[in-house]
């Protein structure tokens, strides 16, 4: 290959950025943050309308804004950022040139055009069909076409990532296996290919249906659509778990406890996470019991097992690193002495705990075939996925962005004090937001509903007072979280525009090969009772007890309902 390029070694992190890859990572990350900012503005409309005392937007605007909020946050913000992470995990971590940069720019262009086209369709007002766009309810053709273009772009991005791995292997920029973070990103990319192809399989027919060319069965649509809808959240899980390992490494110098455990856990994601599409069909007609039980449980919860492993090994690796630094008193000195003032570390730790306790446990509740009856389509569902996608993915990506501002964008962060507080404000208000939303959902309040008072309806249902209280708290917590989001956007965009320029570091025409990690020491001289990470193990036990109790409380609740068979 005659590709001439340069490699910049960042003096602050030691990371090596290839010129084209660096530009692509920046472009994708910037587009991601722009969509996050726009989706955040839309969140104001959603939150202030569902807060019963305010009930701000009129019904048609509310449903339009809610449709756009879902798409801009769940799809456009997150996938743009994930493409940036894929390029980072391949080109930067493996110190190699990015494969086919021109094609990568084409992918970026398609994603930009697709995302804008989709939003234009929504804001023209005739495509308020929610993100799920269940047929036979129809949006404008350009709504679907926008998603298709975006998905094609993202798919090309995944193949650029695969190509970059091949380049690194062939040009021998590293020896042995790829780093764990790259391995995790690889699982995310594989899941992404499956997800985007499933999406094509159903969004293309829906687009043709909007052009009145063909007809799509509503139940088939739901079944296949969720292979896109749920699986796209599995890309997020694989990606943000990879970023957790990355941040543990760069913030604390932590190394994985066991490469074998962490990597096998990622492989379990590839094998089983996809089955979770069934979670959305548990209350549907025409789906058999055995199919539901096998799929909804990811074949005996093997993907849940994978997440429980990552949930232990990431903080466990942090604990081991801290103990090696001498923080060995009691169970939790390592945690008390962690760098809580570093927003990258704090964001990730708040994300891990919230993702496990709030997102993970409730996800298993909803995905249990019978328990789904008391949760399906209530506001419990958005309560759950804000815990997984916002506390899990978005907060992690925010934390990583704080790290990338000096390293990738070569700018000094403006308002570092404000940045220190951002993960706490955003993270904890989202914790509370999710909790009260799930509280309202437990009382039955519907999701995607403009007026819980059913004003003017002779058959109006009167929700209990507690439901109104919960929805008011959803409003308050939502406003606090949006404030946290505004601070994030202000710091990020502000640093890029006005932050002091930092020294870029030396550029050279050739890459420096990646060194190997130091070998694992066989004998461990830290920890207690033969446990290298006793504190993490204690936290895991607390998690397990919470999980078990909440699980059986829900069965108890279910057992008091009408008999159904």
């Amino acid at each position: 290959m005659s590709a001439t390029t340069t490699y910049r070694t960042c003096p602050r992190s030691g990371l090596q950025f290839e010129n084209q890859a660096e530009k692509l990572i920046k472009a994708n990350a910037v587009m991601a943050v722009l969509w996050l900012a726009f989706g955040g503005i839309l969140a104001i409309g959603v939150v202030l309308t569902r807060w019963p005392a305010i009930h701000w937007l009129p019904a048609d605007t509310f449903y339009m804004v809610l449709t756009a909020h879902g798409l801009d946050m769940l799809i456009f913000w997150i996938i743009f950022f994930e493409i940036a992470v894929l390029y980072f995990a391949s080109s930067t971590l493996l110190r190699c040139r990015i494969a086919t940069p021109k094609v990568a720019w084409l992918a970026f262009g398609l994603m930009v055009i697709g995302s804008i086209m989709n939003n234009v369709a929504v804001f023209r007002g005739a495509s308020s069909v929610m993100m799920t766009s269940y047929v036979p309810m129809m949006a404008e053709p350009s709504f679907y076409l926008g998603i298709i273009l975006f998905a094609v772009g993202a798919l090309i991005g995944c193949f650029v990532f695969f190509g970059t791995l091949v380049v690194a292997k062939r040009e021998k920029t590293y020896e042995g296996s790829v780093p764990l973070v790259t391995f995790g990103a690889l699982t995310a990319a594989i899941i992404a290919v499956f997800t985007l192809l499933s999406g094509a399989l159903i969004i293309v027919p829906a687009w043709l249906m909007s052009l009145a060319v063909m007809n799509v069965d509503p139940l088939i649509y739901r079944t296949v659509w969720w292979a896109l809808g749920h699986s796209s959240q599995q890309i997020n899980v694989a990606t943000h778990v990879s970023v957790w390992y990355l941040v543990a490494a760069v913030a604390l110098g932590a190394k994985p406890m066991s490469e074998r455990v962490s990597r096998v856990a990622f492989l379990l994601y590839i094998l089983f996470l996809q089955l979770a599409s069934a979670h959305h069909l548990l209350a549907d007609p025409g789906v058999g019991t055995a199919w539901k039980v096998v799929n909804t449980s990811y074949f005996m919860y093997l993907a849940v097992l994978a997440s429980m492993l990552h949930g232990l090994t990431v903080p466990g690796a942090m604990e081991v690193a801290q103990r090696q630094k001498g923080y060995t008193k009691g169970l939790f000195e390592w945690l008390r002495k962690a760098p809580w003032g570093n927003p990258t570390f704090a964001g990730v730790f708040i994300s891990i705990i919230g993702f496990g306790f709030l997102g993970g446990i409730t996800g298993v509740m909803m995905g249990t075939e019978q328990l789904n009856l008391i949760i399906h389509n209530t506001i419990y569902v958005p309560g759950h996925f804000h815990a997984t996608v916002v506390v899990g993915t978005t907060l992690t990506f925010m934390a990583l962005t704080f790290y990338l501002i000096p390293v990738l964008f070569k700018r000094e962060m403006i308002s570092p004090k404000l940045a220190q507080w951002q993960p706490y404000l955003f993270g904890f208000s989202m914790y509370f937001f999710c909790l009260v939303m799930m509280g309202a959902g437990t009382l039955g309040v519907s999701r995607r509903h403009w007026d819980m008072a059913f004003q003017g309806n002779a058959l109006a249902y009167e929700w209990p007072g507690a439901a109104y209280l919960m929805m008011a708290l959803v409003g308050i917590a939502g406003v606090a979280a949006i404030l946290g989001g505004i601070i994030f956007v202000y710091i990020t965009v502000g640093s890029l525009l006005w932050g002091r320029k930092l020294e870029p570091g030396k550029s050279s025409a050739a890459f420096t090969p990646v060194p190997r990690a130091a070998p694992t020491t066989a004998a461990q001289t830290y920890g207690s009772m033969g446990f290298a990470a006793p504190g993490t193990f204690a936290l895991a036990m607390i998690f397990l007890v919470a999980f078990v109790l909440y699980y059986f409380i829900n069965w108890k609740y279910l057992s008091t309902l009408w008999g159904l068979s």
Binding site: L246, L302, L312, T368, S446, A458
Partner: protein
């Protein structure tokens, strides 16, 4: 910094497992199996399992059957729209449909008696959310879902649509009485 570096050992799958991890894997796996068999067990011993009995239908077919039952067992009408209140005998087939933007008809059932409740959506997807019991079932157009229900408490129940179905979605609410 080794999560971002290639592992020292050439074969990562021979990397040793720590005792913390080994213990946790065992505990987590046992819990996962309990989660799985709980679902299976509830089908054997539990009383709340959603039926899978489903037929393909059309709005006309379903309406014909629903109207026949309504004609036979209507006991009164309610609201300005004169929605019939249908009270079929225990054990019989009862019909309820969701459409833009109401449920039809109103049902009157008896406590602790069992009915075969036929559900469908006439146009778009709708949601059958029985409140305050909080039982939630998806209604999909083209499919007739037959759910066997046994109300266990007397009272006035509302059926709230909880699947977004257009601009009148938040006005879509029906009723079931249990005596």
């Amino acid at each position: 910094m080794s999560a971002i570096l290639p592992p020292a050992e050439r074969l990562w799958y021979k990397h040793p497992i720590d005792r913390v991890e080994g213990t946790w894997i065992t505990i987590a796996l046992v819990w996962c199996l309990i989660l799985f068999f709980m679902m299976v067990g509830w089908h054997i011993w539990g009383k709340q399992n959603l039926s899978t009995e489903t037929y393909r239908t059309t709005p006309e077919q379903f309406m014909t059957k629903a109207e026949a039952v309504a004609a036979k067992y209507t006991v009164r009408t309610e609201t300005e729209q004169n929605i019939p209140v249908v009270a079929p005998p225990p054990g019989s087939d009862v019909y309820m449909l969701g459409r833009l933007w109401n449920f039809w008809p109103i049902l009157e059932l008896q406590k602790d008696k069992t009915y075969r409740l036929h559900l469908t959506a006439m146009d778009y997807n709708h949601g059958f959310s029985l409140q305050p019991a909080n039982i939630n079932i998806q209604l999909v157009p083209g499919f007739e879902h037959v759910v066997t229900v046994t109300p266990n408490q007397a009272g006035t129940y509302s059926v709230v649509c909880n699947e977004f179905c257009g601009i009148g979605h938040h006005q879509m609410v029906g009723r079931i009485y249990v005596k």
